[in-house]
Symmetry: C2
Subunit: 199 residues, 2 copies
DNA sequence: CAAGATTTGTACCGGTTAGTACAAAACTGT
DNA sequence: ACAGTTTTGTACTAACCGGTACAAATCTTG
């Protein structure tokens, strides 16, 4: 781990770690955790195996770092969406940006947190992904409670149920995209959802 | 392939092919296509490898037969649900039975069509699953069109969008279940969905 | 120019994968 | 009883998996 930039000793690395990680994200995104072999990964990253291990650790660690990177990059819109003014605006922005992300040309179809592995032999990875998906439910529930206290969501609304409902659609959109649904089709799904939204 | 029951010649097989296939369904359901190794499968099926190959073909064929079996068995409720009298009843029954199926104790959490593989190195399997998931959208769209002609769904409703919407929730429920959501939580999601359903 | 530190490329390791060859076993028809 | 047919169990293959040993290459420090 880079010694605080004091002075880098030894042979300097010849690749951009951030770019390499982005490439790894793409591979995991497309092939999932188990489907992505180290050959796939290192080829896409443009580095050889020992360089990968030195820079990122083993495959699991690389995957976790890819998840972090994904959350900041391609899925960075989630934090933005949660900051919208009303619960309705939060949901609409979250869903529309998700549609744009999962049905985008140039990117693998679907969400990495779903594509990565919904079931696998590696229960550690499976649990990690489940936990990260559950985080979305927690964020939504908190945001909806705030919305209640701010008056833009009915007081009788079941915030936990609504949060789970939105997360269900969110992850459902990912599956639809990986089934080949187009962006326009999924935008209609968002339209249907919003028409029914309380408030 | 069994010669029409004329007279079975040669050594008779010592296992029940249907039971063995059911066991394979369970393994694929729990571990996904790639995660399920032939050792896992044959062990659960109670047979050895050559017997499996002779009876079911290679791993892909076994998986396809497991999908067929799944559609008739654990997911057999889908056909029933589509025969309900109104679109609303169809959706409610479909979603509630899905919740019961994906969050059931004793069965792997989630739906085989999602758990099986949403992304994998084997694009053939991935496409097969995507196609089977898409079938659900087709069935729903047809059913909703019928509902329109029968008057229990508004004529201005976008049947394609509604079908995609319900399929989105359906597959989303599977992801939620594999993230650890309880049956009660998911039943609340269905409640939220139905409250917003037109008609 | 050395000495120490770090990265890079090659080549390998043991373990696991899907798939199969082959012979023994268990049946039916003659 | 014998020939023909099919299943069963063992043992194997070739390819691939994640991970690593090792030496050459490239840097900073003294």
């Amino acid at each position: 781990m880079a010694r605080a930039s004091s002075t880098a000793r030894g042979r300097p690395r010849e690749f951009d770690a951030a770019k390499a990680l982005d490439a790894a994200v793409q591979v995991f995104w497309q092939k999932g955790y188990e489907g992505a072999s180290l050959d796939d990964l290192t080829r896409a990253m443009g580095i050889n195996r020992p360089s990968m291990y030195a820079a990122f650790g083993d495959k699991q660690e690389l995957f976790r770092k890819a998840l972090d990177r994904y959350a900041e990059g391609p899925a960075g819109y989630v934090r933005e969406a949660l900051q919208e003014k009303t619960a309705r605006a939060v949901v609409e922005k979250l869903l529309l940006r998700t549609v744009a992300a999962v049905a985008c040309r140039g990117n693998p179809h679907g969400c990495l947190l779903v594509q990565g592995a919904v079931s696998t032999g590696d229960s550690s990875i499976c649990g990690e992904l489940a936990a990260r998906r559950e985080l979305m439910v927690t964020w939504l529930r908190r945001r909806f409670k705030r919305a209640q206290s701010e008056g833009d969501l009915p007081r009788h609304a079941d915030t936990a149920a609504l949060a789970r409902y939105v997360a269900t659609i969110l992850h459902g959109l990912s599956v639809q995209a990986s089934s080949g649904a187009s962006r326009k089709e999924l935008e209609k799904v968002v339209k249907v959802t919003m028409k029914a939204w309380p408030g």
